[in-house]
């Protein structure tokens, strides 16, 4: 599973730290997500999608 978190973050002008605070995780988790080293829980994926006002499948790309 790939994701477009970095792209959306740039679009919304958010730092990793800002996004981490908004979805209540540590910055390291955002780093892992962007490097595709971690697949988030459904709740975290939902929270991230809500921050970016998008659907989950627009941010997380299932192969």
């Amino acid at each position: 599973m790939n994701n477009r978190i970095k792209e959306f973050r740039a679009r919304y002008n958010l730092t990793q730290e800002d996004l981490a605070k908004k979805v209540n995780v540590r910055r390291e988790t955002i780093v892992f997500l962007e490097k595709n080293k971690y697949n988030p829980s459904l709740k975290l994926a939902h929270d991230i999608a809500r921050v970016f006002e998008s659907k989950i499948e627009e941010i997380f790309l299932f192969d």
Partner: protein, 132 residues
């Protein structure tokens, strides 16, 4: 924050106990003792790094623990337990072949488990968790 402080207190206690052992001992240290100090020091460094990571997160207003850190810990615990079984099996196999006292063998086993936990954490932290 609370857990970070507990981690620091535990690390300090281990450091004090090890320091007491080191400075109060009148006998000359063997290679095994020096190796034990090295392993204890490594595990302490690991605990302090974990503590600082948690404190850093708390200072930035982030949770000290989140779903990733919990999953890393769970996977580390499972993996290190699995590997530790083989360590104890190996220790049982060699105990008759080496001239060591029972308390030394148990000490080696415990320190070995601590090293396995630390290495497992580093490996899992490095490769990440894909859940696939």
């Amino acid at each position: 924050m609370k857990r970070s402080i507990i981690l620091f207190v535990l690390a300090a206690l281990v450091l004090i106990a090890t320091g007491y052992w080191f400075f109060s001992s009148s006998t000359k240290f063997s290679l095994m003792d020096i190796a034990s100090f090295g392993v204890i020091f490594l595990v302490l460094v690991f605990a302090v790094v974990l503590g600082f990571k948690r404190l850093g997160s708390a200072k930035r207003g982030e949770p000290a623990e989140d779903e990733l850190s919990k999953k890393v810990m769970q996977k580390t615990a499972a993996l290190s337990y699995y590997i530790s079984i083989y360590l104890w099996l190996f220790i049982m196999y060699i105990q008759d072949k080496v001239n060591l006292e029972t308390h030394s063998i148990i000490g080696i086993g415990i320190l070995g488990m601590a090293v396995i936990f630390t290495v497992s954490w580093l490996v899992i932290h490095f490769i990440g968790i894909k859940n696939e």
